[in-house]
Every structure is written in structure tokens, then in C-alpha cells.
């Protein structure tokens, strides 16, 4: 088909939030490269969720359906998609950059002798060639990548890089495909899904959030973060390393593996701004960054910033707010 194939992730009949952003990216690539766009959904009994996409501008929706795709496995998903790609021969295969995609898309690309350009945050088309932008060094540096050699070319799209409200409406039909899969192809056995603790803290409802990162160095230094939050009537949050260390409960983690927040005011203290954190908070109305490193990526999205020693700045800020 030599177009763009976008692989949309679903769980229990519901599409993943970032799937719509990947769909928007695929539509944009398709328009700019003047090629058709196809979607694929994998699972068991996915016709109903495939039908929810018929109102978008797509040339076809492939419902890849098999009992062995009911529970996600990297072996099952990559084998099913490899089959679909070999039959339809898309030029580009686009994924949302989800945990599941990270788990199987590099394997699929390897089976076809290709490399996935993962975690794409931007793109442009130069003389008919697709150039993809991704971040290196935890977001401190950007890099342009292009594909070489034969199609298919694989890319995954970072959350927040493309806007789902830019989706083009249209009319598409669903085509059911049953891949050839046998139980012995699937070597890993997925067992039960579980959650460790109920979410008691809803950071999403907070108007103001004060968030701490690695820069606070010691658990004891959280006291001044809490004090600042109290002065502002704010919730306390953190980037992943703080919660990994057990200094704050996991429910207070903001980022791709924690909560997504969009308060009126987000104060990031000692947070460098790795993409995993940024995707969880960049929708905040006003962002303040306090960090000693002037090149920290957090300053790229901050409205206001202070470069300096947080151990001097935070106490001064508490004092100024009193």
C-alpha cells in the first residue's frame, strides 16, 4: 500500500489516549508526503473498537483479530504485525510511544532488519524526505534523524508531540484480518494485572503544585518543599527518583509513569525536566523552574525561572510569601 500505517493501542476495547496523537501524526505525515494512511488495531474481538475510528480520514482500518492477541505478548504482537506489514507493505509504520510499544516495536523492526526511531517529538518534510526529531541526553539536546534504505520505516510518537484535536474527519471501512499464529510462537506467559495501592491523592485537581526533583539531594530537604507548598496552599509532587527513593509516596509522582497534571501554577524545584517528567506537567498554565543548571530542559517550557542554588532560593521564596 506504500502509505503510512499507524498502529493504535487498545486495552479492553478502549483506545489509549496517545493513540489519537499517533493517529494525528500519521495523518500529518500522510498529507505532507501525499500518501494514504491506514490504521491497525490488534487484539481479540476488536471490531467494536475499530468501528469507533470509521469517522476519521483513513484509507482503511485493519482489525487484526486473534484469540492469541487477547493478552498482550511481544511475540504475538510482533508476529501479527510482521504478517500485516509483509502483505500490505507500508512505507512508514507509526506507533504511539507507550510502554507496550517500547516492549515490542524494536523487536518487530529488528525482525525486518530496521531500526525504530523512538520517542519522536517533532518532524518536517524536506524535499520529500521525512526528518524526525527526537531528544538526546534526557532532553538537553535535540537530534534530527532520517531513514535510509528500503521501507518500511518505523517511528514512535512521544505523548504531547502531536495534537489529537487536529484529527481530520472522514470515512473509513474496517477490514478484519486473522493472522497466522500458533501458541508455541508465544514464549512469555502474561499473568494477572494488579495495582499496588489505590490512588488517594488526586494531583489532577490541584490548582497549585510544588514539585521536587533530584536536586533536593536528601529526604530531609523535603521539609522546605512542604513548607513552600503550605505557604501557597499547594499539593506536593515529585519526579520519579524522589518516589523511587521512598521520600514521597508513588501517588505523588508526576510524569509518564505517574500522574498527568495541568494546574494553574507548577513550581519545579531541582527538576531537570527529562521528557518523562515533562509529559506529565507541560500542560500547566504557569510553570516556574528553579534549578542550578541553566541548560536544564525544564527552562525550555518554564514561563519564569531562577538559575541558582535551590537551598538559598526556596527559603527566600518562603520568606517572601509570608
Amino acid at each position: 500500500m506504500s502509505g503510512v500505517l499507524v498502529v493504535l493501542e487498545q486495552r479492553e476495547g478502549k483506545l489509549h489516549k496517545i493513540a489519537f496523537e499517533a493517529l494525528a501524526a500519521a495523518q500529518q505525515f500522510g498529507a505532507e508526503l501525499s500518501v494514504p494512511v491506514f490504521a491497525a488495531i490488534l487484539g481479540s474481538g476488536v471490531d467494536a473498537v475499530a468501528q469507533t475510528l470509521t469517522g476519521y480520514k483513513l484509507d482503511k482500518i485493519h482489525a487484526v483479530d486473534h484469540e492469541l492477541l487477547k493478552d498482550y505478548t511481544p511475540d504475538g504482537y510482533s508476529a501479527a504485525l510482521k504478517g500485516l506489514i509483509e502483505v500490505h507493505q507500508p512505507g512508514w509504520v507509526i506507533f504511539p510511544h507507550t510502554y507496550q510499544v517500547r516492549d515490542f516495536a524494536p523487536k518487530l523492526a529488528t525482525q525486518l532488519g530496521r531500526v525504530l526511531v523512538s520517542d519522536v517529538v517533532g518532524h518536517r518534510v524536506e524535499n520529500g524526505v521525512l526528518v524526525l526529531v527526537r531528544q538526546l541526553f534526557q532532553g538537553k539536546i535535540n537530534a534530527d534523524f532520517h531513514f535510509e534504505g528500503e521501507a518500511p520505516h518505523f517511528a514512535s510518537i512521544q505523548a504531547g508531540a502531536f495534537r489529537a484535536d487536529n484529527l481530520q474527519p472522514g470515512s473509513a471501512s474496517v477490514e478484519k484480518t486473522v493472522p497466522t499464529l500458533t501458541p508455541d510462537q508465544i514464549r512469555t506467559r502474561p499473568l494477572e494485572l494488579f495495582r499496588e495501592s489505590a490512588r488517594a491523592v488526586d494531583l489532577g485537581a490541584a490548582d497549585t503544585i510544588v514539585a521536587a526533583g533530584r536536586g533536593i539531594r536528601e529526604a530531609e530537604n523535603l521539609a522546605m518543599i512542604t513548607e513552600l507548598a503550605a505557604a501557597l496552599g499547594a499539593e506536593v509532587a515529585a519526579s520519579r527518583p524522589i518516589c523511587d527513593n521512598g521520600w514521597l509516596p508513588m501517588q505523588r509522582q508526576v510524569g509518564s509513569s505517574g500522574q498527568t497534571v495541568a494546574p494553574k501554577l507548577y513550581i519545579a524545584i531541582g527538576i531537570s525536566g527529562a521528557i518523562q517528567h515533562l509529559v506529565g506537567m507541560k500542560g500547566s498554565k504557569t510553570i516556574v523552574a528553579i534549578n542550578k543548571d541553566p541548560e536544564a530542559p525544564i527552562f525550555e517550557i518554564a514561563d519564569y525561572g531562577i538559575v541558582g542554588d535551590l537551598f538559598q532560593i526556596v527559603p527566600a521564596l518562603i520568606e517572601a510569601l509570608k
Binding site: 523487536k107 537530534a143 534530527d144 506467559r189 495495582r195 527552562f299 525550555e300 532560593i313 517572601a320
Partner: protein, 256 residues
């Protein structure tokens, strides 16, 4: 159990990075280097597994000569021996090419378990482990928080999105990409550092391991990101900077 842990040497996390004059990579002459932090968690998982189930931990690293220092540090923490794939100074920017070299280096070893970190701090593809599993013909799982060995099978706890977890079972040999932060990292002891000096590091060149297979992506150029917002940065003594910030938050943004 024979456990291989793949580790990478990367610039220290607090490095001030500069793009080189040809915009192909960073200026790396004056940097300090350390183990890629996610790989330190993979090493820790490997060492803990060895302590429980016995066996040996072999460290595998691809990088220029300076990576030898990071390998020694892993040996000092308790790894038994190491394989060093020596590359030129620039290293390898294509994860498939790298994983193919690693797979060839591991052919004579036939490990029961290969562990990698989740992603590297420098290139950050988050793919080398999964590609290596495919190149070695092994089943794999990623974002692993915990490993239980049960004979010739393992049961792992995998992190999913949104606070969910899942147990996954698979036969050995297998490859696991370890989630960072699930355990505390150990420090090397003085005894460990002393012992590391006599541990075996087998060096092989990337050239002697290379085989068929071209590249399908190319890193064209690197650059500092453009600021997407116009940030106002306040400087001066902390008190003055803070006063300016508070004024802006009160009267411009009106959020406090």
C-alpha cells in the same frame, strides 16, 4: 545461573553539554564519565540474583578505551568478569548495529539471563535490550521491577502505565530490561575495588565482531533545543530574584 549485564558508559548526569563544530555529536574531550544509571540498576538486579541463586555475573560493555573504567567499577561492585567491545571514540549511534555486535560477543557465552537497563542517558533509544533479545533469539520482557527464578523459568514483575503491574512468566534463557529505582544501588567496597584489579576483562574489537546488516536510520545532526516558550529568567542574589518572581506571579500571571 550465568547472568550477563550490559552496561554503558555515558557522560555524568550534571555535565554541561556542548554541540561539536560539525553538529554530529557533543564535545566530549572534557567530560567526566559514569555508568549509565539505568544500567546500574540492571547490574544491581544481576548481583542480587547471583547472591540468591548462585552462578556468575558477566559485564558486557561496548565503548572506547575509557569505558574500561566503568567496567572496573562494575567488577568492584561484584561482577565476576567482563567483555569489552572496543569501539572508536564516537561509539555506535545505531542500536541495531550495536545489538548485533553484542549478540556476536555473547555467542560463546550462552548466558541463562541477559539484563540491560531501560534506556541510556545519552542516546535514549530505550531499545538495545529488546533488539538484543531478538538478535539472540531470546524471549524478553521490559520495565522489570522484580525477578524470581524457578528452575529453568523465571517470573517477573513488570511495570505498566498508570500504576498497573503485571506478572509475566518465561523460560530461560531470556532477556530482561530492568526498571530503574526498584532497589537500592550498592557501593563498591575497598575489598571489591582491590579484587576488581585481578578480574578478567576480555577485549574484542567492534571490527572483528562486525557482520552483515546495514543501517536503516541515520543521526543527521544535533543541536540545542529551541525554547518553545519565552521564559523570563531572574538573576541576582536569591532575595532579589525571588522578589521579582513573586511580583510576576502576583501581577502578571496572577496565580498567587
Amino acid at each position: 545461573m550465568k547472568i550477563v549485564v550490559a552496561i554503558k558508559q555515558v557522560p555524568s548526569r550534571d555535565s554541561l553539554l556542548k554541540v561539536n563544530s560539525s553538529a554530529t555529536w557533543i564535545e566530549d574531550a572534557d567530560l567526566t564519565w559514569e555508568i549509565n544509571e539505568p544500567d546500574a540498576y540492571a547490574l544491581e538486579a544481576g548481583l542480587q540474583l547471583k547472591e540468591k541463586a548462585g552462578g556468575e555475573v558477566i559485564v558486557l560493555s561496548a565503548g572506547p578505551e575509557r569505558a574500561g573504567q566503568t567496567i572496573r567499577e562494575a567488577l568492584a561492585k561484584g561482577a565476576d568478569r567482563a567483555l569489552h567491545i572496543e569501539t572508536d571514540e564516537a561509539g555506535i549511534t545505531d542500536p541495531l548495529t550495536l545489538a548485533r555486535l553484542m549478540a556476536r560477543a555473547l555467542e560463546p557465552e550462552k548466558p541463562d539471563l541477559v539484563l540491560t537497563g531501560l534506556q541510556s542517558d545519552d542516546l535514549g533509544y530505550g531499545q538495545t535490550g529488546v533488539i538484543l533479545a531478538e538478535a539472540m533469539g531470546l524471549p524478553h520482557s521490559t520495565l522489570i521491577m522484580n525477578i524470581e527464578a524457578e528452575g529453568n523459568r523465571i517470573k517477573v514483575k513488570r511495570e505498566l502505565e498508570d500504576g498497573w503491574f503485571q506478572y509475566v512468566e518465561m523460560p530461560l534463557p531470556a532477556l530482561l530490561a530492568i526498571q530503574s529505582g526498584a532497589t537500592k544501588l550498592r557501593y563498591a567496597t575497598l575489598m571489591g575495588i582491590k579484587k576488581a584489579k585481578s578480574k578478567e576483562v576480555k577485549r574484542m574489537s567492534a571490527a572483528e565482531l562486525s557482520g552483515p546488516g546495514g543501517v536503516s536510520i541515520r543521526l543527521e545532526r544535533i543541536y540545542m533545543p529551541e525554547k518553545s516558550k519565552h521564559s523570563q529568567i531572574f538573576d541576582g542574589p536569591p532575595k532579589e530574584a525571588v522578589a521579582k518572581l513573586v511580583e510576576k506571579l502576583r501581577f502578571e500571571a496572577r496565580v498567587i
